[in-house]
């Protein structure tokens, strides 16, 4: 805490309020050093220092001040903090003050008091309704280069931080019987009733303090000041074993089946979060019953000059006086269309503010209210406010009385009350439509979604005694619905304050009368939208941007609708509201992302030999969710191509070892396993003998290739199948569907065993020698016992292993499966015993080169657009059995011999690179897409052949071996001629594989 002496906070009342006067907090606003107290919001502290001008408006750069005392604030948006924690568009009315807070105004240049862009006000017609659609229509190219920059400079909303957010965020789940949203008198009663009944109760409150309007009004409950009553209930709830209170937690959305999204601002009120706490926490709360006790938001009245700093909502004025002990001005006028606003008179008088007049259009004011005005020596004017005067702060108010005479009176505060809008929004998120209620002068929701109840002011029952009784009833009903037996209780003693009034939304007059303060939408803009035919509320909203700012029209929406209703003569009920959608309150993307950002965006899967690879020079590459070794650089190698070529040659000439654990692995077990595999693979599996392996090709039901892999039959009723790394999850889902939905009668079970095996491939002419040295004695790996495409088992160092003889590289090769904890040990043992055979670890890049040299289809070819025929695998598709995709694969378009099919390409000049993605054209044909004949799917430089090679899908490709095609790459400037050849470049007879 900083100690500040002198005349700080000249507008702080000497006594009262719920602030902690023993804690003096120092903060800055636009660099100016100021002080406030613990318990203040930034807005309260600014007002205590006599600062009303806090920002410039979005489009017109008009001076703006604090309008409200809560989350509905449209005007007082500021930047908080500096550097990486700088946060724009923060509502000063909800930002808790802390020692050292640095706040700054927005949308002003060079300074808040002198703003160069205020000339926008002179060009106001440019920013009228629909200006985005009309002003900048031509020429289109100007949009990006000129208009957008111009508008962004002129019409902005703060600056985001430029450095990454240094804080962390959390996501959390909560389940309960009864969730109460809002801790005003109604919410507290509901929570107390539910908690007393024994229900698991959660009470969430956006404010740091429970109490809602009870903190803002001078009222009594059960004979004590309302704030004391709140403390007593809070103490009871805090002690209740099954009740949880979440403060600083705003519900932003109501979703299906009792799910509520809420954000807890865990550390927004601290300079920076302590190390063990997140900045914010996104809650997903699932409740059996929900009580929406979100209160109501006071409605402004639209009149000329209603945006000047010093024009505030009457209820907010009372909140600043009662809760924050702030004197919000020296001379005040109260402008109200109902009894409620009159309460401001005595509040102001008690705060030593001269109340000049109460302006109320109603001719018959109750005597009790008149008496209150008389006590405060305030004139009572039957009339309306028609204008304001002042530059950076309200200086005078113009009112027109019943005789039509306009009077100008000096005042620096104008408290406005147009009635209260029940906060029904959350309850409307599932599509319920509200109804305009003339008696309540607000939109009410008669049919909330199942399990949701509105209570208190949110239900249009906002007077104190009514809200308490309503909350109690809602809490009792919710607990009873959950099977609890609430004990009957009477609501606490309280009075209902007078709430009569008339619906007054707009006072016609001269000068700008703002409806949406944040988006600078005026009553004239609505009239313009009306003239131009944008009369439905949804059109009005989009044409004028009314209610589309960060405050989502919390104060602007209803007056805007009322003005349009007046223009069309359809009435408010006939006009209706726009649809309320989440989020009800702004939610930081960081809170929704939670911990899932940067490296933690998703889990990284590492292979069993990852650490070993990292220690042996590996570079890693993302393959699906995995990190795999891409190559192992050796000392002296300067280009990765050099490394990859060495690794490829090692496999072709001696032996290499590669971690292939990332392949999807599934065990299929049961008496019907073979029948099932015949159904899901295009080729026949059931004829496979135990101990043998077969290539398997899976189709989608539409006939295109889904994936390929190998099928090893370990026993009559047990198969071990592999998928490609990228498709592992998808194939598992596909197989579960095929079994559970299409063939539930088949008796089998499936299990993903991808993580249950470290699998290392040993490939190359010396692989058998290495394997023989590696295995414990007793396993016969002679070609007679373990030929190509056979499987067996053995052990290494006493650890059981599975052996599969299969090859992706075209060389003699074996895959060894071992429990994953032994993966590194196996790799080390292979390197040790393999040293004399020249064993070399190789990565995915060499693996890719080896398979291109052998013409094996992989990711580039298994791209979802290819058929078995396209890949040269037509002979595999069995016509003697039923399989998924078998029927649709016969469709004429899929069997068209003109389809692009797999071929190899070699550059005619023997050296030009061919890049994957290049288009294929007939030599001499123009480079148009109509002339396209196919494309390159995979390409590399073959170390074995010493020149570039590629795989491609070429129209009628297999019939065009020997022809020349043009390989055209407009994006990267490639253009070369290539010879069409068979896709198998190395050992087409397969002799090397079989050994």
């Amino acid at each position: 805490m900083t100690t500040v002496h002198g005349t700080a906070q000249p507008f702080r009342l000497a006594a009262g309020g719920l602030i902690d006067r023993t804690q003096l907090l120092s903060f800055t606003f636009d660099g100016r050093r100021l002080t406030g107290h613990a318990g203040d919001t930034l807005a309260a502290a600014l007002l205590a220092n006599g600062i009303h001008l806090v920002g410039r408006s979005f489009k017109l750069h008009r001076p703006r001040g604090v309008v409200s005392a809560g989350p509905e604030e449209p005007n007082a948006l500021v930047e908080l903090r500096t550097g990486a924690r700088r946060e724009p568009n923060t509502r000063a009315t909800t930002a808790a003050l802390f020692d050292g807070l640095a706040a700054a105004s927005q949308n002003r240049w060079p300074s808040l008091r002198f703003d160069a862009m205020a000339v926008n006000g002179l060009f106001a017609p440019l920013f009228a309704a629909g200006f985005y659609y009309k002003t900048f229509m031509w020429p289109a190219a100007f949009w990006e280069r000129v208009y957008e920059k111009l508008i962004r400079r002129a019409a902005g909303l703060g600056r985001a931080a430029e450095a990454p957010d240094p804080d962390h965020y959390e996501k959390a789940h909560l389940h309960c019987d009864v969730l109460i949203i809002g801790a005003g008198p109604a919410g507290l009663m509901a929570a107390r009733a539910a908690a007393r009944a024994g229900a698991r109760t959660v009470l969430i409150e956006e404010d740091e303090r429970l109490g809602g309007r009870a903190l803002a009004e001078a009222m009594e409950i059960d004979g004590m000041p309302a704030a004391r009553w709140v403390e007593a209930v809070e103490a009871e709830l805090a002690a209740a074993p099954r009740c949880r209170i979440l403060r600083r937690t705003a519900a932003y959305g109501l979703f299906d089946h009792g799910t509520v999204g809420a954000v807890e601002r865990v550390a927004d009120h601290l300079p920076e979060p302590p190390a063990h706490l997140p900045r914010q926490r996104a809650w997903r709360i699932v409740a059996r019953r929900i009580v929406v006790a979100a209160g109501a938001i006071e409605r402004p009245i639209v009149f000329a000059g209603n945006d000047r700093p010093g024009v505030m909502l009457a209820g907010a004025v009372r909140a600043y006086v009662h809760r924050y002990a702030v004197r919000p001005g020296r001379r005040a006028v109260v402008f109200t269309a109902g009894d409620d606003g009159w309460r401001t008179v005595s509040a102001l008088a008690a705060a030593d503010v001269d109340v000049v007049a109460v302006v109320d259009p109603r001719p018959d004011i109750p005597p009790a209210l008149r008496a209150e005005a008389a006590r405060a020596q305030a004139q009572v004017i039957t009339g309306t406010v028609v204008g304001t005067v002042g530059r950076h702060r309200l200086a005078a108010v113009d009112w027109r009385d019943a005789r039509g005479e306009v009077t100008r009176m000096q005042a620096d505060l104008l408290a406005v009350s147009g009635g209260w809008n029940p906060s029904i929004h959350l309850a409307c998120h599932l599509g319920a439509r509200p109804r305009w209620d003339e008696a309540a002068r607000g939109f009410l929701l008669d049919t909330p979604p199942a399990g949701v109840t509105l209570a208190g002011a949110a239900a249009g029952r906002g007077t104190l005694a009514a809200a308490l009784a309503d909350g109690l009833a809602a809490g009792v009903a919710a607990a009873r619905d959950c099977g609890f037996s609430p004990v009957p209780a009477d609501p606490p003693r309280a009075e209902d304050e007078p709430r009569d009034g008339i619906a007054l939304f707009h006072v016609p007059g001269h000068g700008k009368a703002f409806v949406d303060l944040q988006n600078d939408v005026t009553a004239d803009d609505i009239a313009l939208a009306h003239r131009e035919g944008y009369r439905s509320v949804e059109h009005l909203k989009r044409y004028t941007t009314l209610g589309m700012a960060t405050d989502q029209g919390k104060t602007a929406s209803v007056p805007g609708i009322a003005i349009m209703a007046e223009l069309t003569g359809r009435g408010i009920e006939g006009t209706g509201t726009t649809t309320f959608r989440p989020p009800w309150t702004p939610v930081a993307i960081g809170a929704l992302a939670g911990p899932h950002r940067g490296r933690d965006f998703r889990p990284t899967r590492r292979t069993p030999t990852h650490a070993w690879a990292a220690a042996h020079g590996a570079s890693f590459v993302e393959v699906g969710p995995w990190l795999r070794a891409q190559w192992y650089t050796r000392r002296g190698e300067t280009r990765w191509q050099e490394t990859v070529a060495r690794e490829v040659r090692a496999v072709r000439e001696a032996v290499g070892v590669c971690d292939v654990s990332t392949l999807g692995k599934i065990e299929v077990v049961g008496p019907d396993a073979a029948t099932f595999l015949d159904f899901v693979y295009a080729n026949t599996i059931s004829t496979l003998r135990a101990g043998r392996i077969r290539y398997g090709l899976m189709l989608r039901e539409d006939g295109f290739v889904l994936d390929d892999g190998t099928v090893a039959r370990l026993a009559e009723d047990r198969f071990f199948i592999t998928t490609t790394t990228a498709n592992a999850g998808r194939v598992m889902q596909h197989l579960e569907h095929a079994h559970q939905v299409l063939r539930p009668e088949l008796d089998l079970a499936m299990l993903s065993v991808t993580d249950a095996w470290a699998q290392l491939s040993i490939a190359g002419p010396r692989s058998r020698e290495l394997l023989a040295a590696l295995l414990d004695p007793g396993t016969d790996i002679a070609d007679g016992a373990l030929p190509h495409m056979a499987a067996t088992s053995g052990s290494v160092g006493g650890v059981p292993v599975r052996l599969y003889r299969l090859s992706f590289s075209g060389e003699r090769a074996y895959e060894i499966g071992i429990p994953p904890d032994y993966g590194t040990a196996l790799m080390e043992r292979i390197m040790q015993v393999g040293e004399r055979f020249g064993v070399t670890p190789y990565g995915t890049e060499a693996l890719g080169v080896l398979r291109i040299e052998k013409g094996h289809p992989a990711g580039g070819e298994l791209n979802g657009h290819t058929t078995a025929g396209d890949l040269g695998l037509a002979r595999l598709v069995s016509t003697r059995k039923e399989c998924i995709g078998g029927h649709m694969a016969k469709r004429p378009a899929l069997a068209d011999p003109d389809r692009p099919a797999l071929v190899g390409l070699k550059p005619r000049d023997g050296r030009s690179d061919i890049r994957a993605g290049s288009h294929l054209l007939s030599p001499g044909a123009a480079e148009t897409s109509d002339n396209g004949e196919g494309y390159v799917t995979s390409a590399c430089v073959s170390p074995t052949l010493g020149h570039p090679i590629a795989l491609a899908l070429l129209r009628r490709g297999p019939a065009r071996i020997g022809e020349t095609v043009r390989v055209y790459d407009a994006l990267r400037g490639g253009d070369t001629l290539a010879e069409v050849c068979a896709p198998v470049f190395v050992d087409p007879e397969g002799g090397r594989t079989r050994g």
């Binding site: 999850g729 569907h737 649709m888």
Partner: protein
């Protein structure tokens, strides 16, 4: 949404993958083109109750037939797809 998985109880819909309508009968291999066309492409789009397939991939991996009112998201029934009763 919360989906009542017969194995796991009510779980958030983010644990599930949606596929499409349940109860389609896969035609015999030698069925007519029309039958295959209908199976592959023709889908009802009712404004009301809909029987649909969800996969509890982040849970028990069961395929579930969910009967849901697509206007309100009210779920009337959920059963395992492999349960013959679900195919009613």
């Amino acid at each position: 949404m919360r989906i009542p998985c017969p194995c796991c109880g009510a779980r958030g819909n983010e644990e599930f993958t949606y596929l499409g309508p349940a109860g389609l009968t896969r035609p015999a291999p030698d069925a007519s083109e029309d039958a295959w066309h209908a199976y592959m492409h023709e889908r009802e789009n009712p404004a009301g109750m809909h029987r649909e397939l969800w996969w509890h991939g982040q849970g028990c991996r069961a395929w579930i037939v969910v009967t849901r009112d697509v206007r309100t998201h009210r779920i009337e029934h959920a059963a395992l797809a492999r349960d013959p009763e679900a195919a009613r």
